[in-house]
Symmetry: D2
Amino acid sequence: MRSPTDNGPAVSRQEFDALFEQVRTWGRWAPADRGAWNRVGADHVRRAAALVRSGTVVPLGRPWDTAAGPDNRRPALHYMSDLGDAETSGPSGPSEPSTHKDFVGADFHGKGITHLDALSHVAYRGRLYGGGAARELVGSGGARFGGVGALGPLVTRGVLLDLPAVQGVAWLEPGQAVHAGDIAAAEEALGVEIGEGDAVLLRTGRFRRRRELGPWDADAACAGFHVHAVPLLAGRGIALLGGDGDSDVRPSPVEGVHSPVHTLAVAAMGVPLLDNADVEELAAACAGTDRYDFLLSVAPLNVPGGTGSPVNPVAVL
Amino acid sequence: MRSPTDNGPAVSRQEFDALFEQVRTWGRWAPADRGAWNRVGADHVRRAAALVRSGTVVPLGRPWDTAAGPDNRRPALHYMSDLGDAETSGPSGPSEPSTHKDFVGADFHGKGITHLDALSHVAYRGRLYGGGAARELVGSGGARFGGVGALGPLVTRGVLLDLPAVQGVAWLEPGQAVHAGDIAAAEEALGVEIGEGDAVLLRTGRFRRRRELGPWDADAACAGFHVHAVPLLAGRGIALLGGDGDSDVRPSPVEGVHSPVHTLAVAAMGVPLLDNADVEELAAACAGTDRYDFLLSVAPLNVPGGTGSPVNPVAVL
Amino acid sequence: MRSPTDNGPAVSRQEFDALFEQVRTWGRWAPADRGAWNRVGADHVRRAAALVRSGTVVPLGRPWDTAAGPDNRRPALHYMSDLGDAETSGPSGPSEPSTHKDFVGADFHGKGITHLDALSHVAYRGRLYGGGAARELVGSGGARFGGVGALGPLVTRGVLLDLPAVQGVAWLEPGQAVHAGDIAAAEEALGVEIGEGDAVLLRTGRFRRRRELGPWDADAACAGFHVHAVPLLAGRGIALLGGDGDSDVRPSPVEGVHSPVHTLAVAAMGVPLLDNADVEELAAACAGTDRYDFLLSVAPLNVPGGTGSPVNPVAVL
Amino acid sequence: MRSPTDNGPAVSRQEFDALFEQVRTWGRWAPADRGAWNRVGADHVRRAAALVRSGTVVPLGRPWDTAAGPDNRRPALHYMSDLGDAETSGPSGPSEPSTHKDFVGADFHGKGITHLDALSHVAYRGRLYGGGAARELVGSGGARFGGVGALGPLVTRGVLLDLPAVQGVAWLEPGQAVHAGDIAAAEEALGVEIGEGDAVLLRTGRFRRRRELGPWDADAACAGFHVHAVPLLAGRGIALLGGDGDSDVRPSPVEGVHSPVHTLAVAAMGVPLLDNADVEELAAACAGTDRYDFLLSVAPLNVPGGTGSPVNPVAVL
């Protein structure tokens, strides 16, 4: 058994910066706001649609979590704004129908809410993806580059890397790093190969562990990719990276960089991230059909200048 | 040219109640929370996926509208919660990466935000779909029946009824009713037939009109279905009804019922509604390929007990 | 030293109901929405103003707490909506001045935010103060009786019961009950007598303890009044009850009643409650002048139908 | 009768900058965050308390306005979070008491909500009061200088300048400027003299006009002070400026400066502003006693780094 904090090897800042340069795709696409989603052309969409076999639809969005907890420091809001008592009555009795309405709100980045990170979410050394200065491009009205509204939805092939299934464990322990070799082993074991334009979803088993052992501070320790695994993903030309964590192993193995996979994916590669997706049901569905690729649709709210969006991603097998 | 308030014929409450009984499907499905979405089985999903030809992806979500206006009385909220200045610095300088975060919130029912109505949204004579008492089933914590979290996502065949295209006008005028004959004429003209499990989207041209003439109070006057058109839709066994309005023609032609199509669809038929979808780009895409059916994915946020959700529906042609 | 859970003696539901009847003032005042604040006539206001000696102004509002914690389960919201970059520029350069704006929000009842409870906050056996049915009077649009907007502000004599000072301890332990005898001893020791129309503030030392030992779940255990102390307060004709807790000792000593002092004060006596007021600085000011009464001003936001309001109460010595 | 846009005379930017220098008080006080509130020493508080004669308490806060309108572009939020149905039941029946709770929220700057502007609200030529760079001092976490939490409450003498009463009109027309001569005439007519440490409240009759004629866009046209009147107020050493508008006459008479009185008061003089206070009832109370000064208490929420706060100011006559 690995140590709960087997997050290494340690990476120096210099080495990290070299990695950043290695995987950087600035200037490759237009519109730049969509980054690596530009890889997903009409052909990819058609091929993804052709993956639908059983017609099973699996949502990946966690329940809107309004309870504060160690992995939900900014709980989502849900208030009823009308309980059927707000409509005015007419002269001949109560007006019909009665309606029920609600308010939802969320400061959604963090560990509690299934959400997408748009390209404006992350800046490294003050630069957003493409090289623009974050201080100039992001203001109180939102982001003028890399907003989630400019990103729009993604429909592509999804691939699930079910690491616990491959390793024969219930879940990866918090702090456990996923390496390039683990990815290769998963492809082999699961019979799937990550290709260009794919959405790669990592299952660490976080939500099974959470249901069985309770929540923990996933900012302090969670399983995720080690930065050394990123070049493999970059080489495959992925469009989206995500899973049941936030892709980064924590604690971070990189000196002075708290979220190095975020940095490489979003700021260097233009790859949006899908955080906190509950892939437990998806894993069961994949296991049941012994196929680990599927049609994935991720449709962020159309928030102009937003840095991301809560989402309910949908896998269709 | 029709009158701007050609919303008739007038319908008595007695006639409306008979319509309600005629189209009522209470007790037909389990789980009842999903209502007519139970019509969409695995076969439907597979057939919908098979509709993908060009691989064109079209989002239908309006921009998150934070400006109050005559058709946006409860403007959406969007605040930046982090502009790259919130992370604490470490001993050796600022910690990296800097991140940008935001809060989004919405009291989304109404005329301004693209959203889905779950089955708990509407009660008629105090009864939700299925007959349960709204007062017992919906409380300040949300709905115990018909919540959007229990509804989940929909992936099915979408059909666009582009009425302005059929009628050779830029848009339907506010207040103009769409009748069964109009639907039949549209099917004929557009070469599409509404079938079981379909999501029917009505284009009235509202958002083209809004862009050209400015916003207006769509609660007072908007184009939409007349209740007499609902039995045709019920007979076809549709799963979802929606479009660029809220499906109801306004003013309502029904005595004492402000939203009769909402009532029939949601409370009688168990058909969720998709309101305020911007189908202008979709109409252009359909016209360009001369095909008016497509894969439609609608993925509401997973809000337990929510009466609906803001959404960004996705059509794939 | 007392036990941390010395919250007794236990009180049966029957005994509690007798207490409720004993202190009940339903029907005594008009407007009933103001309850015991009707005791504070112009004379009281004048006498309170005459208490000002040193001219020292002491605010009692806790800092707006946006961090979730064991005593702050629904953290307050604070977002900047304008950082000086939202105003449009004019033809001759940026328009001046630049302005900074923010959004504040709170689901303020609970243990984290200094707030006032209006008479609509609490119902016992389905009845609000005055006997109206809560189910009829409080709806999704707010309260039609006992709203904080109808309550308005209070300016009266405040009295601080600094129990730790009297008992020579740093603070009362969580769970420690304050009895009638403790009140009497405090009046004696502090040289102050509670009279009609007074606002009684209890210091348990909670916020000193919190600063020194960290936060704890104050719903599970906090110092406060035992219900047997309430008749003394009722007999004095107080207008407001409050302090650094929420007035109730927790765990509750009353069978089946989680907040018995809330129930007696608000629902039986019509006495609004002031919860979570930080009285540490006030205690020091009182000790410094050896006077424990002062002018107190509590000005809730004018929310029509609100069940209370976050406040920043002001003591003037 | 004056023209509805008699907002002049026009003021050049150069002249405005000279005015700014003339009234500037940077560096005069510590703590600088409290600006001109440092003028209100213990003596002022005592003298203010001594003004209480009749014991009449008058709140000045407008009702929390949740309806969007021409003068309320960002409507306040008020949602019920508990309607007595959220508490868990115990083994022996429903737990008591039932409680009602709510969420309040507001992006409060603007024309709809009674609020205080702290010193961090306004920057001129990039500088806050005291000369610090706004860009350095105000971030997404709030203001590090001039936050409303550092400002705290104000208790001082208030003076009402009831201009419509002096001029024998129902209200000042939107766009009508109040000049130094008008202030002097009001002092003479009302028998009151503005002195050091005073809170000056201007009544323009806005809310009477609003009630009689309906709301209008108060950003486009409202009565308020002309900048030429500011030196008189500065010379008197006022601590707070406010009233039923936002102190600025609109349209602005100053070239390139949309809110010149805001700029002079907040950024040059360190005088917080009280906007949108409903002084109609206060005016009646003052007229009834023929006295136009009183004790004023303004207690902003204790929001660390906030640029202001919704408030319910209280006048005590």
